[in-house]
């Protein structure tokens, strides 16, 4: 059993928080994992990505070979497109639909979403709306983690326990909003 995931977004969108939750859930579920991330210059509003590999056996490379990824999980639709060629032919794309426009030549959003939806399995989530509904627009990353959760080989309880551990120190309101964000994302992906 193994699962390879490309996490994508823009520096500051909370990619590393998603990675943190998946890492800890993997440890709790007794899986081995490697998770390569981007630090330094690119974190200043640049495109960032993290290669997340989960397995119940051994993992050699920190980077996912092209064609090996089971999922692209992106907080932003243009960033989701950047890594399509990492996906195996039956891989799934889970992405938020709200563009992050900090560049002058951002393509037309309809064309971006159309390209995302051309992937054989695409789950496009209005993470901004759901995060606001959960109580904080900052929780878009957790909405998307929730949306990805039905496809992950990790236990939902392990993910929720780590979301709890991550946000509990920031107070009950933040914790509650993030748990709700996770649930809303999960329901949206499941079409509930």
């Amino acid at each position: 059993m193994k699962q390879d995931i490309i996490l994508a977004g823009v520096g500051g969108q909370g990619i590393l928080s998603i990675a943190y939750v998946i890492d800890n859930a993997a440890l709790a579920d007794g899986l081995v994992f490697k998770q390569a991330e981007v630090h330094g210059m690119a974190q200043r509003g640049g495109a960032v990505q993290s290669h997340m590999r989960l397995s119940d056996g051994s993992i050699w490379s920190d980077l996912i070979p092209k064609g090996e990824a089971d999922m692209v999980l992106s907080v932003e639709p243009l960033e989701a497109l950047r890594y399509l060629d990492y996906l195996r032919p039956d891989g799934v794309v889970v992405t938020g639909l709200t563009p992050y426009r900090n560049i002058p030549d951002y393509p037309e959003i309809d064309r971006v979403l159309e390209a995302v939806r051309r992937a054989p399995r695409a789950v496009v989530i209005d993470s901004e709306r759901l995060a606001k509904e959960a109580g904080t627009v900052k929780a878009q990353n957790v909405v998307l983690l929730g949306a990805a959760s039905p496809f992950l080989i990790l236990k939902e309880d392990s993910l929720l326990a780590t979301v709890g551990a991550l946000f509990r120190p920031r107070g009950p309101a933040v914790l509650e909003a993030n748990l709700k964000a996770f649930a809303l994302g999960r329901s949206a992906a499941l079409g509930l």
């Binding site: 823009v10 440890l27 200043r44 509003g45 050699w60 070979p65």
Partner: protein, 529 residues
């Protein structure tokens, strides 16, 4: 034995702590910063060892060397180009030797994710005649760091640990062992540590005498693995993360190529001879320069064998290796993958944060220089290097820490006007003070703009030594006349005033320093939350 989730950098840090670390020193630089960040956090809790952000890598190295002289185990870490700054004490510490174990971590950046070159630190280990480790995963990063301390004390020389970005910034679970106690104080022998020629010649002879022992240790290292397997037509020699890419590519094969994993230097000569003798052709996989490959090929190659790698184009000579590049070099077909979208994807380069003080300074500087056709702005290493990109396009050079001031002086000396240097407060403390001292004595016709945002921002907000009042007193102390030291507050509402002040100082035919004082917005945000 517990398992902990650690970055590669953190695995090194924890390995050092568990090896009985007493003192660690560093200067921030991607991808090495997380080593000392981990140690600073940890020592704030446990208070049983010292962890210090030094003023620069040279001082960091000398501080670690002092701790080693005193008999304690010490760590010094930096990015690869940091070892250039520390090269003087580094090279000489191989001659003095180490008293307490001294481990030097140099984190290379193949692919230049956040660097100005991709130099390979293994050459420095060879240059200094010292032993080096190259981990391929997190567990090895931890285990090798621990072992490096024992080896450093056994050989009485510093040991280098080569990291690369990909491992430094990858996270995995690591099994950690029980900690070892710290060493007692025990001073070094002055006859070893006074590098007068009479002593240095004797010490260098000793170091050369250790070389054969280092090769024996490398050949016997448990981290080097030789497998003469099913397929003997090809033998792969792979080091560091390249070894992972090789194993990934052949994981499902019944008769994979024979291979040798190289994890220690000097190269394990005996193991390499065994592999080469057993196979028809050799492929060398290493992230960085073709360090092993060139040693095997030498000038004349290996009679009767082909040795392929970066020198013959089997792998690209520059850039970071990936599983896909290694797969192709092994002649394996690419995996079936989804096609790219076909939509032209706009790039998303890093940029200055919204509200960044540097943006206001650079805008004011652009305005102040708009009529000065011959002007040149020499810049330095920091977030403000992003001022080279649109919409600012405000700076014209970026070479190495502190180069802005020295280069502006050189250009001014030969008639370039206006010559402007732009440098951050941390970079100024690191390497800007000495060139400004020279320029102050000469009253060089240039304008130095110091961006004082009170932090080392690009690497995540480490402390800085040359900020605020201390910075102003420092500039004055170097001999810059008080009336030529101007302060501006880089905010949009002060734009016109700032442009006027910059124009006045640029017009002054002599040395001026303009200090732009406003705190980094990221640091402000951290304090609020």
């Amino acid at each position: 034995m517990s398992r902990q989730i650690l970055l590669g950098d953190e695995a090194v840090a924890l390995g050092a702590v568990h090896a009985g670390l007493s003192a660690a020193y560093s200067y921030p630089g991607t991808p090495a910063s997380e080593i000392l960040e981990h140690l600073v956090r940890r020592s704030a809790e446990t208070k049983d060892f010292t962890a210090v952000w030094s003023v620069n890598e040279k001082t960091a190295y000398e501080e670690a060397l002092g701790a080693s002289f005193a008999g304690k185990r010490a760590l010094v870490s930096f990015k690869h180009v940091g070892l250039n700054v520390a090269a003087d004490p580094f090279m000489n510490s191989a001659i003095t030797g180490a008293n307490g174990g001294l481990v030097v971590v140099s984190a290379d950046d193949p692919g230049m994710h956040s660097s100005q070159n991709e130099q390979d630190s293994r050459f420095y280990a060879q240059f200094a005649h010292i032993f080096a480790y190259e981990p391929s995963d997190h567990q090895e990063a931890y285990d090798m760091t621990r072992e490096a301390y024992d080896l450093s004390e056994r050989l009485e020389v510093p040991v280098l640990l080569r990291m690369v970005t990909r491992l430094s910034h990858s996270r995995s679970a690591v099994a950690v062992g029980p900690p070892r106690p710290q060493n007692p104080l025990r001073k070094g022998d002055p006859r070893d540590w006074i590098l007068l020629p009479v002593n240095a010649r004797r010490r260098f002879t000793r170091l050369l005498g250790l070389q054969a022992e280092m090769v024996r240790l490398s050949d016997g290292s448990r981290f080097n693995v030789l497998e003469l397997g099913g397929d003997r037509s090809l033998g792969v020699i792979a080091s560091g993360v390249a070894y992972n890419y090789f194993r990934e590519a052949v994981a499902a094969e019944a008769a994979p190529p024979s291979f040798l994993k190289v994890s220690t230097y000097p190269v394990p000569e005996g193991l390499i001879r065994k592999l080469v003798a057993a196979v028809d052709s050799v492929l060398v996989l290493e992230d960085g320069y073709p360090f092993i490959e060139r040693q095997i090929k030498g000038l004349f190659g290996v009679a009767g064998k082909t040795v392929r790698g970066k020198t013959d184009g089997a792998l690209p000579a520059s850039g970071e290796l990936t599983p896909d590049i290694v797969r192709a070099a092994l002649g394996r077909t690419p995996l079936p993958a989804l096609a790219a979208s076909g939509l032209p994807l706009a790039g998303r380069p890093p940029q200055l944060c919204a509200g960044c003080p540097h943006a206001d300074t650079l805008k004011a500087l652009n305005k102040a220089l708009e009529d000065a056709a011959g002007a040149n702005v020499f810049s330095d290493i920091g977030c403000y290097t992003l001022g080279a990109l649109p919409p600012y396009s405000a700076v014209h050079t970026c070479v190495c820490m502190g180069a802005s001031i020295g280069m502006a002086r050189g250009a001014a000396d030969v008639g370039l006007h206006p010559a402007v240097a732009v440098i951050g407060d941390s970079t100024f403390a690191h390497s800007g003070i000495t060139p400004l001292l020279g320029a102050a004595v000469a009253d060089t016709d240039m304008t130095v703009v110091i961006l004082d945002n009170a932090t080392t921002a690009m690497t995540g907000g480490q402390p800085t030594y040359g900020s605020g009042e201390r910075l102003l007193r420092l500039i004055e102390g170097l001999g810059v006349p008080k009336e030529r030291i101007r302060t501006i507050v880089p905010l949009p509402k002060h734009h016109d005033l700032n442009v006027r002040i910059l124009r006045e100082e640029i017009a002054h035919r002599g040395l001026s320093v303009v200090v732009a004082v406003r705190e980094c917005v990221q640091e402000q945000r951290k304090k609020r939350s």
